[in-house]
Symmetry: C2
Subunit: 405 residues, 2 copies
């Protein structure tokens, strides 16, 4: 199941980066599961990573290599997370990097490794290193769509997006891919996502831009509240266009960040729309909060409540469950008589209880939609936060109970 059409727009090549996908047979023979990205020498790279303390070996290596060297290659395998694998897992990830480095004639530290899939099983290193030459052969300017398929695990469809903007007669391009689809939770760089642009951006500034944008996109989506050991979100500025983005040129800085936010949000929401067992796409918007923290407490309490999520699955306007979730969110000194809760445009809660104007028919009409907005107006300040999530279906339980993922 998934919500929406999942149609992928035309994916523009990004000058300065080539992408290649092949099959290493990590888990399933013949399935595309190994993706290689080759960056030009002038590219800068930023990354945000899982906050899970059991973070996987490749995540640790990525962080270290990003500190020490300028990346030239990213190598991504699906089918095995290489997490919970101890020292052996660390060595295995390094061996994969070395195979790429040897083939390209670069340093090991110029290769960033990524893995996704089952936790705690030994990485089949031989299969991956043997497939490295084929990944190099596959490198292409037009490799994005294949790569979107090549990083999938329980995703039901590839996720990719592309956007361009014009600046002083020059076209700047963003293309990117992401994958979900369970173990997704806020307060981290969620899942795997790779976005590239042909603008030039200083590495430090690029990192700030990525962090800010991720906090409004990948860090605001949640499916089951579980935080993976492997999640990584990478932003690559190849610089091949020659256009340098700095804070000094405020206009360019603004349009660049807008385009970045656009592609990041599209890729993040695509993960939610393809969330495990998802039948609904839910926007939880908290307005007039006293702080970002309390807005997020309310948004995540509603987004994570199994009772709210099962009611959404059933298209049941059981507004009492939403009210209860806001009530236990942990907002200090909450005046329940002063807030309003809306389902779409329908006010469901005011004056501490069911809104006088509420009718079951009006609530049901909103619930029947595939995309639903829950709006919580706290009347405590002027801060807003938005979180995107899914319902909780029998299919979610089936996917996670019936298969080892």
């Amino acid at each position: 199941m998934a919500v929406g059409s999942g149609v992928i727009p035309e994916l523009h090549p990004v000058a300065g980066i080539r992408v290649g996908t092949t099959s290493a047979g990590v888990k399933t023979p013949g399935r595309p599961d190994l993706v290689l990205m080759e960056l030009g020498e002038q590219a800068t790279v930023a990354g945000v990573f899982t906050l899970n303390q059991f973070c996987a070996a490749p995540v640790r290596i990525c962080k270290a290599n990003l500190q020490s060297d300028k990346p030239r290659y990213l190598v991504i395998n699906t089918g095995n997370a290489n997490a919970g694998t101890g020292k052996e897992g660390h060595e295995d990830a390094l061996t994969c990097c070395q195979a790429v480095a040897d083939h390209a004639g670069v340093k090991l530290e110029e290769v960033l490794p990524f893995s996704t899939g089952v936790i705690g099983e030994k990485l089949p290193v031989e299969r991956i290193t043997s497939a490295v030459p084929a990944a190099f052969d596959a490198l292409s300017d037009n490799g994005w769509l294949d790569a979107a398929s090549g990083i999938m695990t329980t995703d039901t469809r590839p996720k990719a997006y592309s956007t361009q903007f014009e600046y002083q007669g020059q076209t700047i391009t963003f293309s990117g891919i992401s994958k979900g689809a369970g173990m997704i939770k806020p307060n981290m760089a969620t899942m795997l996502a790779y976005v590239a642009t042909d603008a030039a951006v200083d590495a430090e500034l690029l990192q700030q831009m990525l962090k800010r944008s991720a906090d409004k996109s990948f860090n605001r989506v949640t499916i089951d509240g579980d935080t993976s050991t492997n999640d990584s979100c990478m932003l690559i500025a190849t610089g091949a266009s020659g256009l340098n983005v700095t804070e000094t040129d405020a206009e360019l800085f603004a349009v660049f960040n807008n385009a970045l936010d656009d592609i990041m949000l599209q890729l993040a929401q695509a993960i939610v729309r393809d969330g495990e067992g998802a039948t609904k796409f839910i926007t939880v918007s908290v307005e007039q909060a006293g702080s970002s923290e309390e807005a997020l407490l309310a948004a995540y309490a509603v987004s994570h409540s199994p009772l709210v999520k099962t009611a959404l699955f059933a298209s049941d306007p059981n507004w009492g469950r939403i009210l209860a979730a806001v009530g236990y969110a942990g907002i200090e000194s909450l005046d329940v008589d002063a807030l309003q809760i809306y389902l779409g445009d329908v006010c469901i809660v005011e004056d501490g209880g069911r809104a006088a104007s509420y009718t079951e028919e009006a609530g049901q009409a909103v619930m029947n939609e595939e995309e639903i907005t829950i709006r919580i107006v706290l009347n405590r300040g002027d801060v807003s936060e938005t979180v995107w999530t899914t319902d909780l279906s029998k299919e979610y339980v089936s996917i996670n109970a019936d298969y080892r993922s």
Copy 2:
């Protein structure tokens, strides 16, 4: 579904309290749904209540009346929570109390009201007040088992327990009932529970005893992480035995608290065993933690993880999901190489990854059991905490998606 036999032991009468159950037809005609408890004049009463800020009208009234007066009656209806009902709900709860007060010739403030069931629907006051005389007629020393049925909502079976201890030739009795079975989460007095003893205990001391005991029982069970608007746990000391429990008599104080902990834990665990859709009873024990707070972070991260819970439902020893949950629990500066995780007696994680001695067969053997202990040894201190929970089954989703509860 439920875990274990659910056999209820012999329920001893508690001198000084009579219990009566009748049908008011709150939601379903003929179903027992109204319970009355009558306390002798010397009884003391303690209560702990939901921390949900949208707490129901009866909860607010209970708290106020407990402050102002000595309770003589408790009146409990199922089928309607009288929560999210605003000022009208408050008036409705008072009307029910008044009906009991009028019939008994006591003050309204000497009656404590409780409601459980659907949120946000108007309480059918007339039906309840009309049934009050029948509830008085039903008052009996042996009314506990009927009452256990009379407070059920989506529970599949009644929950009751009784225990006695001897002290200097005198027998002291505890009897109690509880109900679940969803919307259950820690950090609160969970769901409805009523425990009575014929010992005499000063009201202030009784409140301390209840709080301490609830923090090791009802506040340590979780099914879905949702916190209800109505949950209440009441402890009644009728004093009819004449035996006065004080802190001065250390031996009596100790045996009394042990018996209290016994009945509280039995009633709390009975709620978990009958959790919505439960097929497993899970004990999550965190040992050698640096503090109670960090022990509970780990315990609840594992207990609430949908991925861990679906793996438990599938009897799948997917230990990587447990490792991941401990990793994102939020314990500061966690050294993942220093901790061990056990499934039953089988070590699954050590040295930052899968234990060298682990075999899938050994893990599978534990997972096949109906009652499973997950033990997390943090090696950071000497604090232990235990939480009890269930798996997440398709039945849970069905129950909460198919029915309005």
